[in-house]
Symmetry: C2
Subunit: 252 residues, 2 copies
């Protein structure tokens, strides 16, 4: 009964993951269309075209790739854990690279246009997300890919790592929504209320990002989609159990 | 060892709940000071003073009270479940009343000032949150307070009710952050970048709301803070177990 009860939900995993990918790619495409079609395109010359790389890189890196890096533990549930860990860290590395390019683009544009930095709520939330994302990436690397921490420390840190990962994804999406609102009011304040195409497109981008976030959190927090225990990992996890009785399972 | 392992975390519950209350009350006070001190105060006359009731009511109702309504299952962990349910529904009723007053205030102000409705990302996210909040409240009432649904249906709906509750709280906070950004850019766009007192105060309000949300989600998702099984409820839950083998515990 237990297996029968959870079987139908397990089979929905490819479908819900598929929907997240459609939503994630749609958000990247909508950002590209918004910046490319309505804001003049992209360049690396200190102009507004360099700023346009900022939203594209943040949506691609800090939202879509960060989300996919988390999802690998659900999608590759039957692959060896070491490989999945490497993929998780690898996608996060790409996410980090796009994030850094996006951050450099906006600071470079501000410097060239003599616009003050870090005064808005978007910038406060955004920079907090980026700094915490970097810390989370370095700690994750040290704790789970390189044998720096003890087994006890790893098992203790794991639930916090998972919680912070979800919080960071939600904070990244929240920061993007603030950025969308800021950009629209800076660019089309006088026509925004007339439901112009650019405003509606950017609003739709925001809605797609919210749907992506809700579905991602649903997948991550749903026990039926969790990685099942594997025999060879079970043998290893005995150490965890002995050392940390009462701690959560070391499978994120 | 199991009990010892979780005991220190359990004792932290009053402290983390205390911090959420300080953060929640601070957010309400900061909103009141922002609207009262910098935006001319409050009235019910269709003017900007009526609009000022909108942020105050939304932060108080849809964030602070909604959060507290969820928290009662953790704070009153040893009270009879029926009483806790009534308190949960009752606080949500107050949250709903403040939310409706806040929504009426902004639509009334828009009508009096001939400002179009529902064109911004803040309004799209906000109205989605309010509509879903109303649906969630009515369904919660029907499923858990009045004997409309079968035990099987209640046990099946419970995890979705809990998930949607957390999503709605996060969406409410996200909508508030969008509203803060919108209000600041409408009111002080030319001086916002000079770190004026009003801008910094409103940014701090945003940061307090984010901290409130993160801590609330931490408490809600932490197994150690969950309501322990009670003997008299265990007897009742046998029905649930028999009917829904493999389903989650009916304790939110």
């Amino acid at each position: 009964m237990d297996e029968c009860g959870s079987y139908p939900r397990r089979t929905t995993l490819p479908w819900v993951v598929g929907v997240t990918q459609v939503l994630g790619l749609t958000s990247v495409v909508l950002t590209g269309v918004w910046m490319g079609r309505y804001r003049g395109g992209f360049a690396w010359d200190g102009s507004a075209k360099e700023f346009n790389l900022h939203p594209l890189c943040m949506v691609l890196g800090l939202v879509f790739l960060q989300g996919d890096a988390i999802l690998v533990y659900r999608v590759f549930r039957n692959e060896p854990k070491r490989n999945v860990k490497l993929l998780h860290g690898g996608i996060h590395l790409f996410a980090l690279i796009f994030t850094i390019v996006g951050i450099v683009a906006v600071f470079d544009f501000h410097r060239a246009s003599k616009i003050p930095d870090m005064y808005s709520l978007h910038s406060w939330c955004g920079i907090a997300t980026v700094v915490l994302f970097c810390i989370q990436w370095v700690l994750g690397l040290m704790f789970f890919l390189f044998p720096v921490a003890s087994a006890w420390l790893r098992a203790t840190y794991l639930p916090l790592h998972v919680f912070c990962g979800v919080v960071l994804l939600v904070m990244a999406i929240g920061s993007c929504l603030l950025g969308i609102t800021e950009k629209l009011l800076f660019s089309i304040m006088s026509t925004y209320s007339q439901f112009t195409a650019e405003g509606v497109l950017a609003n739709c981008l925001g809605v797609v990002l919210v749907c992506f976030g809700v579905l991602m959190v649903f997948i991550i927090t749903n026990d039926d989609y969790r990685r099942p225990p594997h025999p060879e990992e079970e043998a290893l996890s005995v150490h965890f159990k002995t050392l940390t009785e009462g701690a959560s399972s070391p499978t994120p």
